[in-house]
């Protein structure tokens, strides 16, 4: 599957396209098929996302899992600071990134 990501313009937060808007959680991302670039450009023009791009992901029971480790780190947060990730209470989250 292909998912669309980028950064929130004012805050820089990593965000994912949900089909109807943007979420901080990759689990909310939807398959954009071949429409990701068009959607990203339109959303960027409205300043709802900065620097959008499409990545490959695998559809899992927990939601989309980005194919590349860089995007998995991006989706969770720094593996060396679990307290600063999006899942500070999930001890297994970092192992799933790697």
């Amino acid at each position: 599957m292909n998912i669309l990501t980028g950064n929130d313009l004012p805050t820089g937060d990593v965000i994912w396209w949900t089909g109807a808007g943007w979420s901080r959680h990759v689990a909310d991302a939807v398959d954009v098929g071949t429409t990701g670039e068009t959607t990203g450009a339109a959303e960027e023009a409205l300043r709802r996302v900065n620097n959008p791009y499409v990545i490959e992901a695998t559809d899992t029971a927990d939601g989309p899992r980005p194919a590349h480790i860089k995007d998995r780190v991006r989706a969770l947060g720094p593996t060396v600071r679990p307290d600063l990730t999006l899942k500070p209470d999930d001890a297994a989250a970092i192992a799933q990134v790697i």
């Binding site: 313009l9 004012p10 805050t11 820089g12 480790i69 860089k70 780190v73 947060g77 720094p78 060396v80």
Partner: protein
Amino acid sequence: MYKYDQYDQSIVDARVDEFRDQARRRLAGEITEDQFKPLRLKNGLYLQLHAYMLRVAIPYGTLDSRQMRKLAYIARTYDRGYGHFTTRQNIQYNWIKLEEAPDILADLATVEMHAIQTSGESIRNVSSDQYAGASADEIADPRPWAELIRQATTFHPEFSYLPRKFKIAVIASAEDRAAMRLHDIGLRLVANDAGDLGFEVYVGGGMGRTPFIAPLIRAFLPVDHLFSYCEAVLRVWNRTARRDNIHKQRVKILVHQMGAEAFAAAVEAEWQEILPNKSDVPRAEFDRIAAYFTPPAFEAGDREPDRADPDFAVWLDQNVKPHKHPGYAIVNISLKPIGGIPGDASADQIDLMADLAERHSFDELRVTHAQNIVLPHVRKADLYTIWQALVDAGLAESNLDLISDIIACPGLDYCSLANARSIPVAQKIATRFAGRQRDLGELKLKISGCINACGHHHAGHIGILGVDKKGTENYQLLLGGSGAEDASLGKITGPGFSEDGIVDAIERVTDQYIAVRQDGERFLDTYRRVGMDGFKEAIYG
């Protein structure tokens, strides 16, 4: 240390106002990201893996307690309670919001700080020896010259659109603590036979994907011509460098392609053209700058500290260095706790170090390129008090220049350029060797998460380079590098390793070192004696 005059303050304040308007226009949609990106980069604001990242300049690594406290304030107020001291004596914050960035720059300006020229194709923060003004082996304090270069190159219109970034280091001792020859221009202050001061000028060093050690292009440059000669170097490069391939545009590539002799001749010819323009900074202006670096009022007396506490004695031996004035010492505060993140410090720790500097080090701190902090002027009588405070704050690791004193870039945990994580590898190595690092002696280990080499892996006695191997992190091992006065570039040992495999490989390297070292040999000495062949079988079997 240097204090802004009205002109300095006004240009920094004006830059804050300018950036505030640029950020407003970006947020309002009046300019695109493509238009805004070069503007934010000119103010040190990157878009990194998780958020915006702000790199703040710390000129030649020198700052006072008021500035240090402001860095803590920014970490606490705008970031997530910590900052990361970098391999170029700066600090960067990883969780910045664009909408708050102008306020941060305004706060920095209140303490004579900024983020100007910490990114982009500009002349970056001038780096220097962290022991400047304190070390007995220096010929003079190099910082007034570093400050002169900083002032002369800040917003210099001719150098605003350079082919690539440009880094300058200034030192004044035979021992190189600033990796001087791995800079675009490396300057070493020396005296000639007549006792006149001048500079050895090295040009074309650097790390990155194509590392070079800078060759000497002028053995003695009279100090009064420092700026015009640097100007000539920059002009030759600016005029001649390629601009069609970002990987071929640094001055090191030009020097390598032309040859040091031909490059030096071109600079010399350009310099002769420039000299009649009298662009050098007048001696009176240098004297004005130098007056800010007058040594502090050291007290008389020389009482050695009581070494009864064994942990304190270890710290004294490892982290405290001799000072030029009797009764004083240089304190290195390690930001490398075992298992910690190299270079990171919490807001509370930054405040604590500011307090110690104010009370015990004539209000001065230094940031080192090895990502540690220095209190340059400490009374020996105060050392035990300082150590106790550092212990309480988790800042008393006694590991300066040992294997756990690792330089590491932020790597894939934070950096959008990285291919592999650096920090977890550093943590595992430090933890593995914590109990036996003193037996290994001086061993500088440096890790980069990509070929851009922010972690100085080329210059590590042991270097590690993280690469992407079909979507998996892989680590290449290098041996034999040095960023010191005996500068050398490390060589890759062979095939790379997994994250755990690289830690095991380093253990095999250090075991082999212990097996073959001769009396008094550092790891690097042994490597240079036995060569790669002396280690390769131990590594790969």
